[in-house]
Amino acid sequence: MKHPPYQLRPNKAIDRLLLVEILSIVREKDRSYRYYGLGGPFLEEFRLLSQHFADFPMTSLEANLQTFRRQKFHRCTKNLKLLNQTLSSFLETYTGDERAVFWLDYPDLHPERIQEFQTVLRLVGDDSIVKITLKACHDDLPDELLSRVPAFEWNVGEVCARYLAEFKAKYDAILPPTVTYDQLRRGQFPELLQNILQIAAQRTLPIGCGRAFQPLHSCFYSDHTQMYSLTGVVCRDAAAKEYQRRFANWPVRNLRWANPKRIDVPVLSVKERIFLERHLPEKRPTGRGLRRVLGYNIANGVPASQRQLLQYATFFKYYPYFAKVDVV
């Protein structure tokens, strides 16, 4: 059982805090939500949510017995119910007669994950928030692997075509009509994954069924592995416009299935961050101003440094501080 060090992932931490913001906005009108998550051994997001919303009832679903025991050790609030159960077995009896928040936080990508996403969309009550996080890269693209082999006799084009055909066969019913091998590459795959999820959502809640999945935010980031994250609300058709209005001024919104935003905050020292925050927020952040006041590059060259500082200017509010502490 391997668990990534969730607590040391700044981009993931930002994704978590963005969920907190979404919940702050939707809970302004109604606080009767219950959170369901797949928290991992340290229950990171549960701790964060309980800090922000003290009265928030939460349920953690964990299939692995050892991890479940570890979760018991890390249980952070009385409001958190821990269940030793898989999401799919939980959903078998879930009635959906409540406003819920589901975060399907997966470390990988399989068709089963998308099917669970569709099941959740189908089951949850109106005005429920559904967030899904998936691995958004292929570690085994044949041309990238084979380029490391000096004298390889295979026809690389043929191998790539077979790889694409296998991918297409796996997701056939929810793929956009035209998918190319290049779309499987790291740079383009988050966009393709979003299209797949959009089609999956529209197939589960088709036009005319009275309910829709209204996207609110989507992003991709890489702490080590590239991940894609989509958050939206399942609501009556008529309520979708109301959600669009409520999120219209949220700077990182995605209400129309636009391309996902990249989160890639730079590694900065605490001293640098305190210095930069004196100059934030900016009205129209570009990264140039921060680069100028800093007076040196934090990446290879000025454009790369400006890009990273733009990321910082966009997400600095959500960037966690990691510090060494002594527990006494």
């Binding site: 019913a173 956009p176 009509p177 036009i207």
Partner: protein, 476 residues
């Protein structure tokens, strides 16, 4: 004839049975789904090519249909020859006029309703611009025309400009509410669904060069490929994996049937996963029957009684038969003889022609379902055999069939068939036995975590590992 007034003053006059437009606009359109309506428009494009070529087209290269849509419009533009002015009555009247001669071409349009029904399904305003040789004209449908219950004539006028090639453009706006939502907010899923339907149902025509695009994305065909292992002409034919093929001409309709294997038979694990319902499938199955009428698939991968599954001692479709796929093609210059329903997306199951051919479909099914039973427990061996074969498209099979030793079918004059001698395992009785038992999921996960360090490992893998360990102990 007007009759005398009755004592209460009622006069029994001839009653008005004149059709009302709302029947065509709101009722007839309920019988068809949006993708089917769009496929009707595409059928018209293909019929246009056949009229242009004036003979069954061997190649459709150079012809194309482009569709675009969003929440405010739907448009289909083709270069398939346009609508000749002489066919205006057939094209624009509600139903085929009785004096309209049937064209001796393998088209699918019979009832003269498809285009109009598709337009009314989608919206209230439409402009049809067409050019066919010297004729270049436009026909308009407007909300006012739809509301007017008396005037049935559609305004036509000379086209505003010459087109580069003969063809037709249909532009529909003022979309009905549900349609606007589907083509607007729901466009992504609809686009995928429509592209899949076209790729399946027009696979034969697209493979012959016809191009179809949706919002700029080209649709690629999805042909079914059947496996054929090398066959030698010998007196006593050696067993080969080859499709069962039947060919006949019945009442002016050419029939060509092929059924075979698309892949190796499934492993026990694959069958168990499918049966347990835990198996996720976004992958489309090629198992089942595809029925093609004049090159357009009217039924795709059907696995129901409609195509012979589960009747007359043929087992119902089950995952074990996932490798079995068949295609039946009906071709006729008289579309009314084809065994299709009025929507052209289904089979008329009571058609005598279809019933006759269906008995051959069952014969093929019987052969290949038996094959899967023979090889149960010998899956690896069966898989190796399949690997040696070629995967042939239907068109390739047709030409390859010429070389196969076809035999006459006694009951059908001119009917011939090739019934392959399928290989059987050397030892009929496998010495393998299946071990099957059920345990609670939690216990399976616990054992998986304990022996494989993987709680998510498949139950069969966990079971196999347990057995191996026990066998090692037993053999010590």
């Amino acid at each position: 004839m007007t009759q005398k007034a009755k004592p209460d003053g009622t006069i029994y006059e001839p009653v008005n049975a004149f059709p009302v437009k709302s029947f065509f606009v709101t009722m007839l359109t309920r019988d068809i789904s949006l993708p089917d309506a769009i496929l009707d428009l595409l059928d018209n494009c293909v019929d246009g090519i056949l009229r242009t070529e004036a003979k069954p087209a061997a190649s459709f290269a150079g012809y194309e249909a482009k569709m675009t849509f969003d929440k405010s419009h739907f448009m289909i533009h083709d270069n398939c020859g346009g609508i000749p002015w002489s066919l205006k009555d057939y094209a624009f009247r509600m139903g085929r006029p009785p004096d309209q001669p049937q064209q001796k071409l393998p088209m699918v349009g019979v009832y003269g309703i498809g285009m109009k029904r598709a337009i009314f399904k989608m919206g209230e305003r439409c402009l049809i611009s067409t050019q066919s040789g010297p004729h270049n004209y436009e026909v308009k449908i407007s909300p006012a025309w739809i509301e007017d219950q008396v005037d049935w004539s559609l305004p036509a006028s000379a086209g505003t400009s010459r087109m580069k090639e003969d063809g037709t453009t249909i532009y529909i706006s003022h979309l009905n509410e549900g349609i606007a939502n589907t083509l607007g907010d729901g466009a992504k899923a609809f686009h995928t669904e429509l592209a899949r339907r076209i790729a399946e149902q027009y696979a034969f025509i697209i493979a012959k060069g016809f191009k179809v695009s949706i919002n700029g994305d080209r649709v690629e065909p999805r042909p079914t490929r059947l496996v054929l292992t090398p066959h030698e002409r010998t007196k006593k034919a050696a067993p080969t994996i080859s499709p069962f093929i039947y060919r006949a001409k019945i009442d002016g309709v050419d029939v060509f049937l092929a059924i075979g294997l698309t892949r190796a038979i499934p492993t026990a694990e694959e069958v168990a996963a499918e049966d347990s319902g835990t198996h996720v499938r976004y992958k489309s199955l090629s198992a089942g029957w595809t029925v093609v009428c004049n090159e357009r698939a009217v039924l795709y991968c059907d696995r129901t009684e409609l195509t012979g599954w589960g009747e007359d001692e043929i087992p119902r479709y089950h995952t074990q038969f996932i490798a079995i796929s068949g295609i039946v093609e009906f071709r006729s210059n008289d579309a009314s003889k084809l065994p299709t329903t009025t929507t052209k997306r289904g089979i008329d199951a009571s058609s005598p022609l279809y019933l006759q051919v269906k008995s051959k479909m069952r014969e093929g099914l019987r052969l290949f379902t038996a094959y899967t039973y023979w090889w149960k427990g010998h899956e690896a061996e069966a898989r190796a055999m399949i690997k040696k074969g070629e995967e042939l498209t239907f068109a390739e099979l047709r030409s390859r069939a010429e070389k196969l030793p076809m035999r006459k079918v006694s009951r059908v004059p001119g009917g011939v068939q090739f019934k392959p001698k399928l290989p059987r395992p050397k030892t009929q009785e496998s010495n393998l036995r299946r071990i099957t038992f059920e345990r609670p999921l939690g216990e399976i996960r616990a054992v998986g975590a304990y022996i494989l360090d993987d709680a998510e490992a498949s139950p069969s893998r966990i079971g196999e590992e347990c057995f191996k360990r026990a066998l090692r102990e037993a053999n010590k």
